[in-house]
Amino acid sequence: MKIHSVKDLEKISLESNQKLYFPETVMLNVGMASCGIAAGAKAAFDKALKDNPAGHPYQVRQTGCLGFCEEEPLVEIVAKGRPRVVYNRVTEDRILDVVQDYIEEKFSKKLILGQMRDPRSVLEEEIRNPLEKVNPLKGIAFLEEIPFYARQVKIALRNCGYIDPDSIEEYIGRGGYFAFLRILAEMKPEEIIGTIKKSGLRGRGGGGFPTGIKWESCRKHPGERYIICNADEGDPGAYMDRSVLEGDPHSVLEGMLIAAYAIGSAQGYIYVRNEYPLAVKRLVSAIKQAEGLGLLGDNIAGSDFAFRVKISTGAGAFVCGESTALMASLEGNVGRPRAKYVHTVEKGFRESPSNLNNVETYANVPVIILKGADWYAGMGTKYSKGTKVFSLVGKVKNTGLVEVPMGTTLREIIYDMGGGVPRKRKFKAVQTGGPSGGCIPEVFLDLQVGFDELTKVGSMMGSGGMIVMDQDTCMVDLARYFLDFLKGESCGQCTPCREGIKQMLDVLTDICEGRGKEGDIELLEELGSMIQKFSLCGLGTSAPNPVLTTILYFRDEYEAHIHDKKCPAGVCKPLFHYEVDEKACTGCHVCALKCPQEAITGDKKKVHHMDQGKCVKCGICYDVCKFDAIVVR
């Protein structure tokens, strides 16, 4: 079957809507993105398929990730006329209990994360809430009200965890491809670009360039134009693009289709990381399905518009996230950036006008078209509109992906949604923007997130990684870590970046290993400012950020390393040692049992002692002590 009109789409939508929301048999939706699988979802899925405990019929399906990774594997169970319940930490050994719990309507609190109040996507407001006539469970929290989800507005993540990513029908069932058919039938390219411009959408990959303006300038340049999707998500600590590709690949394809129609392009490319094999697999299946329904290829939906999409896999080079390097890599070359005197919208891939946007940017586009620019621009700060997905990771209780309106404060994200720092440790900083970003200290926690707001404090939005750090993270070591990363990823063609980063790294390594000397901090600042000013591409110009922000906000830690030869966080091995706090030690003996060096001795219920000669500072005792009796000195 091919889709020719909105009517065809509506027919599919209605059918799959029934299946999605009112399944006749009990339906298990197992979150099977990479993260879920790593947490054990695949094993649970197989187990549920193989063994049917109570003899009741039920169906098992894969979905994407609901975002609350800390509680994974997540399994949602639903049946017609019954509540939708999300069970957490459903590993292989728990899945049968969970199924039984739902089928027998026990609904035990200890298995359940929450019940859903309204599963509709942002695009389905005209249909009735499928759970309207279902009596909610007593004593079980609504998913929408638990702190992790309460502030979220899901636009880019609207279908992640709700649909089977390998089913185009389910994507259509939740309002998918309606935006594309609308623009195809009703809107002129200029109108589409106007809408995107008015919405204030800015590039979600890090740069924050206004998407509408990019589209407009690409459209202006003659030639065979290309639409490229940047799915080379290289920032360590950010994985929202992976989640979108694995959970809702069609949202990206639809966004690209709209861009292609607006800009006037017949060929699209998705440049996706080789490290994301599942994302590639799901994209391939999505493209095939879209071709099957006539939504990609020639004469799309009966019009004379043609558009095809190819997938190209990266090969592990961080610099290929940069637009010109990405295009060089697409052409089968070494991914080296070039100076952008001529922008890629004029001469990019194959020397032709090329429009490059990030995964999340494309995923936003269909919603903007259907809900309108004003609706989208109604959220956010003055210059940063809409929502942004952040990956909240590191030393925070509730790790996962959160999509919040721009302008939400860091404190709200980290403390209200994330639940703060675990194990009674003290918050130290939050790192945003990946290796190009910076570390934001506690005093700025009330900062509203937005492109310009984050830049003002020396960091940046980047692709949305938000890595929380506590007292056990050494900021000097962290700066060294980022530079070590960037040294490896520098493409090597411009001297400030290639040599400068190495010099900074050498200085930092000296500091971390106890060879720091007077003037090192100033030297780092000088080198950093040089690299920022004279590097060729974004990788170099932003490379010193992690060092410069940590010097700015945590200078005392640098000084402690240099002058006192101490690492207050207990990370840089030559600069600290562990000791037993005699007042706090209860003699529980756990540390002594765990110590691989047998460096800790003592009788039970008596204060233990540490043999410094034997200790290799592996930190196991520090981690296992429940009484904070192992201290860093």
């Binding site: 994974e72 990266g314 090969a315 080079a317 990363f485 493409c491 196991i620």
Partner: protein
């Protein structure tokens, strides 16, 4: 910039040129633009990039061997030397780093008596560090072949190795 390693000069044990030819032609249509993906396909097949396959590829698609070598050493995924039967990728992404991935990495190096990038004498394991595999909420993460092991302590990390022969 990656450390440049010497090209393996010994020929690959069995290089099936018909298969190689088929791979380059049918899947990638001899198109130079697909060079990176061709190399990925060769590596999937042989577990590394045998030198004869690269010379053959160079002839076949009309790209100088030097350029192919440049690409194979620029991108992190490519290996020019045979790798072990099991590939251990320790994630050293930021989220894993702050949760102690370095210690997991050290522990594995200690247990296997190899350093990062090396292969054990019996070819059982190759150890490499990678920067972020996108499972940041479950750190520290170690990927062995296609299996991702999450929330690992250094202790547990060495235990999981036993499951791979």
């Amino acid at each position: 910039m990656k450390e440049v390693r010497p090209v393996q000069t010994a020929s690959a044990d069995e290089l099936d040129y018909f298969e190689l030819d088929n791979l380059i032609e049918s899947q990638f249509g001899n198109d130079k633009e697909n060079l990176i993906m061709m190399l990925q396909a060769i590596q999937r097949r042989y577990n590394y990039l045998p030198r004869p396959s690269l010379t053959y590829l160079a002839e076949k698609i009309g790209v100088p061997l030097s350029r192919i070598y440049g690409i194979a050493t620029f991108y992190a995924t490519f290996a020019l030397e045979p790798r072990g039967r099991n590939l251990i990728s320790v994630c050293l992404g930021t989220a894993c780093h702050v949760r102690g991935a370095k210690r997991v990495h050290e522990q594995i190096q200690e247990q296997l008596h190899i350093r990062d990038g090396q292969t054990t004498g019996d070819r059982r394991f190759t150890l490499e560090s990678v920067r972020c595999i996108g499972c940041c909420s479950l750190g520290p993460v170690v990927k062995i072949n296609e299996d991702v092991h999450a929330r690992l302590s250094p202790d547990e990390a060495t235990k999981i190795l036993g499951g791979y022969e």
